[in-house]
């Protein structure tokens, strides 16, 4: 097995090549209590920063998605301190100023683009902050759609913006006040409330695992409806 040298918080270890940063750290004896979640690149819990030997760049990524390389200097960032605005989505309204009122520090953005470079999801982070600043909630929601809230943008920002919280507010506002309502969903919720599925649910709750499995495998998959 070919081994590579890595440095975890400055201390050298030898680990098999091909491991992810997360697995390499576990191989070296570290145990994750925080900073680990789905291990599949979706949850955003395992933010990591590293430098490669002989390179000035500081890289940011997810530990579960990045393979170790010889000479990597590593550290985990299991948590990002970032203040969240308190709001009641039912009561606030969306206008040009909603985002900047809840997160006034977005006006400190100097367009350095460091957030974008740090994003493991390769989002245009600076662009959604700039859209937020000019009140374009729909654009901010669209550009930040794949955000997994790892917090690396906020850790790297010289203007101390909590990008991912701004983006979440933008998406919530978009979902509640801007996006067209899904008619089929409203129809289905009404059907559920009227008890259309109650009888079937009761029947299923009495079934054995075997029966359920059979039923599941034989289920009808509905074609997607036009909205």
């Amino acid at each position: 097995m070919k081994m590579v040298r890595i440095y975890i918080m400055g201390k050298e270890y030898r680990v098999p090549e091909g491991l992810t940063i997360m697995k390499a750290m576990e191989y070296a004896g570290y145990r994750y209590i925080r900073g680990s979640g789905c291990r599949a690149g979706f949850c955003g819990a395992c933010a990591t920063v590293y430098r490669k030997e002989g390179e000035y760049k500081l890289h940011a990524d997810l530990a579960c998605q990045t393979t170790v390389e010889d000479g990597m200097y590593l550290v985990q960032l299991p948590f990002t301190p970032a203040n969240k605005a308190i709001y009641d989505l039912e009561k606030i309204r969306v206008d040009d100023k909603t985002l900047v009122n809840f997160y006034p520090e977005i006006a400190r953005c100097v367009s350095c683009n460091t957030c974008t470079k740090a994003c493991p999801q390769e989002l245009d982070v600076m662009d959604y902050i700039q859209a937020s600043l000019r009140g374009d909630v729909a654009k901010a929601a669209e550009l930040s759609f794949d955000c997994i809230q790892c917090g690396l943008c906020a850790m790297r920002c010289p203007a101390e913006i909590a990008h991912y919280h701004v983006a979440q507010l933008a998406r919530r506002l978009y979902g509640k006040y801007i996006a067209p309502r899904a008619k089929h969903l409203e129809k289905r919720v009404k059907e559920i409330e009227e008890g259309r599925f109650d009888k079937d649910m009761k029947k299923m709750m009495k079934m054995s695992i075997e029966e359920l499995r059979k039923l599941y495998n034989a289920r009808d998959i509905e074609p997607e409806e036009e909205v």
Binding site: D96, C109, V110, S111, C112, R134
Partner: protein, 276 residues
């Protein structure tokens, strides 16, 4: 129509809106796009842009405040434009001064280009233009489009940022006249207005409002004494400081009588008969 020199043979120009034209000054953008369309010029908003920085920082040792402006100029160039127009006086001043720096300060640009290693190097080759500079060459075309001559007396208010520093001035920096000529071309009359390049108090409105109230009182009273029935400007912050605090000025100065304040594109829209 004769081609306008400042635009070369192009009738489409890259347009940088700036944040305020998307929020507090929407009427400025809407009327500008419509009146320029009437004149056969398309203001094409660039696809990606960033807040200009809202003021040209005088701290020469902190280049961070130049990044946004340089990035905007790179975007315009990337989209194939060699000229960029912007309406807001603050955006104009910031982009224009930064572009001058890009042309003159090699050391600063070496640092900025190295820092922005994800962008192509920028060399200052995009020309920053204010729409009044385009109109300056089109007064006959403007006259020809007038449907409802203005028939009122206007004070042309330039404020600071279209004129200072003189290297970025859109006109004669001590005694500009382009807006007066525009007013006359639209059928209005331009009054003599000694305070036309006085500062409105700018961002003092956020932290030292009394200074802005005093400036407003002096500027509007001076315009009124010279016979003006309205004030015309190109700057959203001047517009705010002159228009939105008139009630407070009245409280501080009981003899104060206010005036309506318009963007120059609004009076053009009125004269062209363009609906808002």
């Amino acid at each position: 129509m004769q081609p306008v020199n400042i635009l070369g043979d192009k009738m489409e120009i890259a347009y940088y809106p700036g944040c305020t034209l998307k929020t507090n000054a929407k009427e400025f953008e809407e009327t500008a796009i419509k009146v320029f369309e009437k004149l056969g010029i398309k203001l094409k908003e660039i696809n990606k842009w960033y807040c200009c920085g809202t003021v040209y920082s005088l701290a020469t040792d902190n280049l961070m405040y130049r990044l946004a402006a340089i990035r905007n100029l790179i975007r315009a160039k990337e989209e194939g434009y060699d000229k960029l127009v912007t309406l807001c006086s603050i955006c104009y001043n910031t982009l224009k001064q930064t572009n001058l720096m890009a042309r003159e300060d090699e050391d600063a640009m070496y640092k900025i280009n190295s820092f922005m290693d994800e962008e192509p190097d920028y060399d200052g080759s995009v020309e920053v233009i204010h729409p009044l500079q385009i109109l300056n060459e089109m007064m006959d075309e403007v006259k020809a489009k007038v449907k409802k001559p203005l028939n009122k007396k206007y004070a042309a208010y330039y404020g600071c940022l279209l004129l200072r520093p003189k290297e970025v001035a859109i006109d004669e920096y001590e005694n500009p006249s382009v807006m007066e000529r525009l007013i006359e071309a639209l059928g209005g009359s331009a009054v003599n207005f000694p305070l036309k390049n006085e500062c409105c108090g700018s961002y003092n409105v956020a932290c030292n409002k009394e200074a802005v109230i005093d400036a407003n009182y002096r500027i509007i009273t001076n315009a009124r004494k010279n016979g003006a029935e309205a004030i015309v400007t190109s700057c959203p912050l001047c517009h705010f400081n002159l228009k939105e605090i008139q009630k407070e000025v009245k409280k501080a100065y009981p003899d104060f009588v206010g005036l309506p304040v318009y963007y120059f594109t609004e009076i053009m829209a009125m004269a062209f008969g363009v609906k808002k």
